[in-house]
Every structure is written in C-alpha cells, then in structure tokens.
Symmetry: none
DNA sequence: AATGAATGAGGTTTCATTCAT
DNA sequence: TATGAATGAAACCTCATTCAT
C-alpha cells in the first residue's frame, strides 16, 4: 500500500538508530526535543521508542553515558610507558579538549547536564573521576601540590564545565582558556 | 468548612505572600512546583496569581532577583573606611557565606539557577560582578596577582556554586571548604 | 497620595462616559474588546462598570440601541409636508447613507450585529421597521409594487447590510452600490 | 461501569466520528459547543481531538467545508443536455432548497457562517460562486437582464441566507418564500 | 519486533463578575 | 457612588506513555 517495508533490525542496531537520531536533534535543539521528534527523525514508530527506552529519561541517561564514554575514548590519558608526562600540561590539554568537544556538540550538553533531567537523575560524573585520578598520579611524582584530590577534582571539573559554557555562550575563547589555565596551574602547583 | 473569607490586601502585601509561598515550595520541592501548588500554599485563587505574575517565568524571575538581592544585602562588602581589608580572607568568607546561605535555602537555587528556566532566561549573574569588583580592588593594592578579572570571576563563581551544591548534596562540608579556599587563595595569589 | 480625585458625576454622565469609551474601542478593535479595556479607556474602576451594566451584554445592547437611534436621528425620513417624495430615490439614498455610516464606524457594527452576542440577543431590527414603513407609504401612492412589506423589508435590509459589509471588506464601492440600487429599484418597482 | 475499551479505528473513520459528533452538537447548541462537549459526544479522549484538529477552528473549517460540499452534491445544477432550462425557476428552486436544507440543519449554520469564527476565518463563499455562474449562464441566453453578476450574486446570496434565518427563526415560510421569489425574479428579469 | 492510534492527567492562561472597603 | 483586589470556572492545548493490532 505504499507504506515503506517494515525494517526488522537487530535490536542493537535499531536502538542505535534511535539514539543517534536523538543526538542529532538534541545537538540542534537542546531540551526542546520531544519523543515525537526523535521517532520522526529515526523513522520509527512511537511504540518502538518505548520498546527500547521505558521512559524518556532513560534515553537521556543513555545519551549522557555515551557522551562521557565517547570523550574518554577519543581523549585517552597517556601512560608512563609512552614517556615522561607533563602533568600540568596534561590537565590543561584535557581541559581544552573538553571545551572544544563540548562546543562541537553545541547546546547538547545542556540538555543532559544542566536541565531538569540532570536534577532528576544526578550523575556521579565520570569526568571528575578521571581528573581525580590524574591529580593523584601527579601528586605521586611531586608534580602537584598537596591538595585534597576528590573535592578539588570536583571543583576543577565545574570550572572546566563553566569555561565550556562561557565559550559556547560567546565569551572570548582565548581569554577564558587563559584564565582557566592559570587557575588550573596555580591550584595544582606544588 | 466554608471557604475562607476573601482577604483584601495591599497589592504589594499580596504579591509578597505569593512570592513567599512560592519560595517555601521551591525550597522543598525544586522545579516540580506548579502554579497550582503556589496558589494553594498562598491561599489565593488561581486568577490572583496571574494578576501579579503574567507568566510563571515572571515569578521565577522575581524569586531569583530576590535571592540575589537578599544575599547582597545581608553580606555587604566592607569598605576601606572600616579599616584595612584582608582581601584573600574576604573572598573566602564571602564564599563560605554563599555556601551556607545556599544551604539554608536547600535545593531552592537549583530551580532558578540550573533549571530549564535558567536556560530560557539567562541572568547576568550579580555574584560574578561582585567577585569581579573584589578582584580588581584587591589587585590595586597588590593583594591579588595579575589574573584577568572578568573571566576569573566567572570561573571562581562557578566553583563556589559547585561547592554549595556539593555540600547541599551531602559532601563533607569541611573538605569542600578546604579545597575551595585553597583554590581561591592559590588562584588569586600575587 | 497622588491618586486622582474620585470624580463623582451624575449617574447618567458617568454611564455615558463608559458607553463612549466602549464605542471608541469597539470601532477600533471589534469584538476583541474586553471589560478591562473599556474601564481603562473610560478611566473608571471595574466595579463602576458593573454598577451601570449588570453584564457585558447589557453594554453591547445599549451600544447597539444607540447605533440604531443615532442613524435614525441623523438620517430622518422626509415628510410629505416638505414636498413630493421621490420614493425609489429615498430608498436608495437611505441605503447609501447606511453604507457610508457603517463604513465610518468600521468593524464596529460586526461586534454588535454579527457576533456571538447578536446570536445570544437577537434584535427586532429597527432598520427593518423603517424600511417597512417606507415601503407601505410608497405603495399608498403607487410608487411601489404590490410586494409584501414586512418580509420584503427584512430581505432588503439584509441586502443593504451585506452591501455595507462588502464595501467595508474592500469590494468596489461603485459596483456594489450600482448592483444594490438596481436590486432595490427592480424589487420595489410598480 | 468500567471505562469502555479503547477502540482503534482507521484515522479517517475516527476523524469522521468526531466531525459527526461536532455536527450533532452544533446543530443543537450552536456556537456554545466546546472541545470538551465534542469529545464527550464522540466518546474519545481530549487528546484524540487534537490529534485530528490542531485547533478548534480547524474543526469548524472542516464542518463548514462539508456543509458547502454536501449542498452542492445533493443539489446539482442541471446541464443543458438535459433539456432547456427554466432559468428564473432554477434560481428560485435552488434558493428554496437552500432554505429547507438550512432549516434541516437548525441553527447549525450560524455557528460556522455568522459567528466570531466566520469573522476570524472568512470564506470565499461557494454559494456565491454558484449563483454568479448561474446568472452569467442565464444572461447568455437572454433569460436574465444586464445586472453585474458578481456583486448581484453576493447580494442575492445574502437575501437567501436571510430568508433561511427568517424561516428558521419562526417567520411564516410561505410569506418569506414569496417575497424572496418576487425579489429574485424582479432583480434578474431581462 | 513493530506499529501508530488513543489516552488523559496536567499545565498555563483568560476574563466576566463579585465584594470588602 | 466608587473602587480595584480577588475570584474560579472554563478554555485550550501538550505530550509521555499505553495498548490493540
């Protein structure tokens, strides 16, 4: 009857299509995106969405997790095996990478990190854990001062987030990065 | 069990009652609060709400403005006339005051500072302007180093916010404050 | 306290102020006008409005009556004492006058003659009575044919109304008037 | 007394049910009808209504279109192939048919032709186009005089409408029809 | 596994009218 | 007579979620 043939896919493939459709829309429209929009973009029926995501928040959760994981994968921490590590430089370069990566995802992050969703489902942020680990490792080789790693990581991660928001919001990228680097370096200095 | 008599108040008094009812509920329930809840808490009819606030966002705007103003009023910056100023101590004490004050308002702040509302109606944050002014003043007397005041103020304010959130979320207050103070002091040190 | 002195007027004067305010607004905005608008325009309090008009429809009723009366007053029918009457010409000139008068009141008429109000409170239209009387008088002197005066008056009045609406809606005035005059003259011809 | 099972229909069938429910209510209650009433009458949920009609006015638009189409379908104009046409008789019979048809729909027409809705969404009235075409065709065979077809059609259609309203409102059907026919015949006479 | 029609609680906003002052 | 703060019943519309097919 002219209706496109029902595409029967591997569950994982179908789920991925939905996720990617959601990511495209979230990047473009932030938290204005609705289930309706996602299924249209994915070319899937409404019911199919709820087959894979019991609630809308579950989708956001998945998307958030993927964001975190993708950053980790594309920005791996160096290992000592590769040579001596410039610890302050590492922190700064990871921070800059985070900012640029956030920027490339536009208002995307807001929808999953600052929205009402984030309030409903807080996340023990992976970025904080990474940063905390880096601080500890740097401290072991005397590259960083005696700061308390966990609270400091949390606070520094907030600074990095804010830097990304600032740049995304139109602030002067160079000025923000300079202030950020100065703050990071001074805070962690031995 | 009859309905309570209609109470006629001065507009300002009635508006204040609505605002205070909203503040109580926002403190307890965050952004789940609705017009319906506010009017019940305030003991007024729904129409009365819209008499004073054309839209729900207008109420949030008012509440946010009151929060900012109230902090400024209850935590004035010292003037040189009162004697020499301990600049690093000033920053730290204002930060600690902000944290405790936020804490006393519970999840309140989230509803107006981190919610979808905040995304819809961003605010040139007064706290940042204050901090920026303090940094400049401290720099003039060599109490602070040559950081770029505006971006730095923005980043530091984010740190203070995050500290407040952390403490509100159950993190160890002393540890957070210690990390925060260290960060502030090092970042601004000459 | 800077509040303008309460003007205590003769009831009729106050009522007239309200009516005239309503007429100004109805002329400009048609049935979009609200009680709120009228009292603002009239410079009176809301309660005052309902002191003079128990309901909104009562105001519309009054306004409608005034419209009818004003037309009658400003466009009196000639009496035989003034000389012989050109009966077809009389009908045509009254019709043209009605159109121009409607036009000068803009969408005003719609709000009281074609709106939901008119449906709620139908009016035995005075214009029809006038026309009916003219037809009878003309018939007595053989100026008009043997049409049934009352139904014919009703139908012709509808034609005149429609002509006015057409011209108000942008139709070519001359063409409409020509068609109208032809219709009137032929319908009433001996 | 449980809630009736959810009935899943073809979209067109469900849409039709809603339209017909609306038509029943509009016929009985005119423009007092609300979305709430229609969904109750149709036995569907509120959301279902808005699934098919984005706004209330869209429903009225549909209903109006159906009215016009239905009349055209049940009262086709004769073609010359069927034999010579009695032009004046045709106009009169169509007019009478329109009146009776309007009558059978009760105050229905008012809600879509004379209400505030009609003011918001004017319709290039199909009835006028039909009448205009008939006038032109009659003129070609000298059955009608040299009137200006378009304005005249508009005015005559208003007369027919008014006749229908009059009869619906309780006026003497025969008297109205007689006056109408006289008016039509005289206006269009060669 | 997939569909998409159907749901209905929930939300904001309007405005004629009332009534304490 | 006059005020204007207060009312609350509607009204429209949204959208995550359900479920018959």
């Amino acid at each position: 009857m002219g209706k496109p043939a029902r595409r029967r896919l591997q569950p994982e493939a179908r789920k991925l299509e939905i996720i990617e459709a959601a990511e495209r829309l979230l990047a473009a429209q932030g938290s204005r995106v609705r289930v309706e929009d996602v299924v249209r973009e994915a070319g899937v029926a409404k019911g199919t969405f709820f087959l894979y995501f019991p609630t809308w928040d579950d989708l956001l959760e998945t998307v958030r997790q993927r964001l975190v994981t993708e950053f980790d994968r594309t920005h791996p921490l160096p290992t000592e095996a590769e040579g001596p590590i410039d610890w302050p430089g590492l922190v700064e370069s990871q921070a800059a990478a985070f900012i640029d990566w956030t920027l490339s995802r536009q208002g995307f992050g807001d929808a999953v990190f600052h929205s009402d969703f984030a309030e409903r489902r807080p996340l023990a942020d992976n970025g904080i854990l990474r940063l905390s680990a880096v601080i500890r490792a740097g401290q072991e080789v005397q590259a960083f001062g005696p700061v308390d790693p966990d609270p400091t990581a949390r606070l520094l991660f907030a600074v990095i987030h804010e830097s990304a928001d600032a740049v995304a919001g139109g602030a002067d990228r160079e000025a923000i990065i300079a202030a950020l680097n100065s703050l990071l370096r001074r805070t962690l200095a031995p």
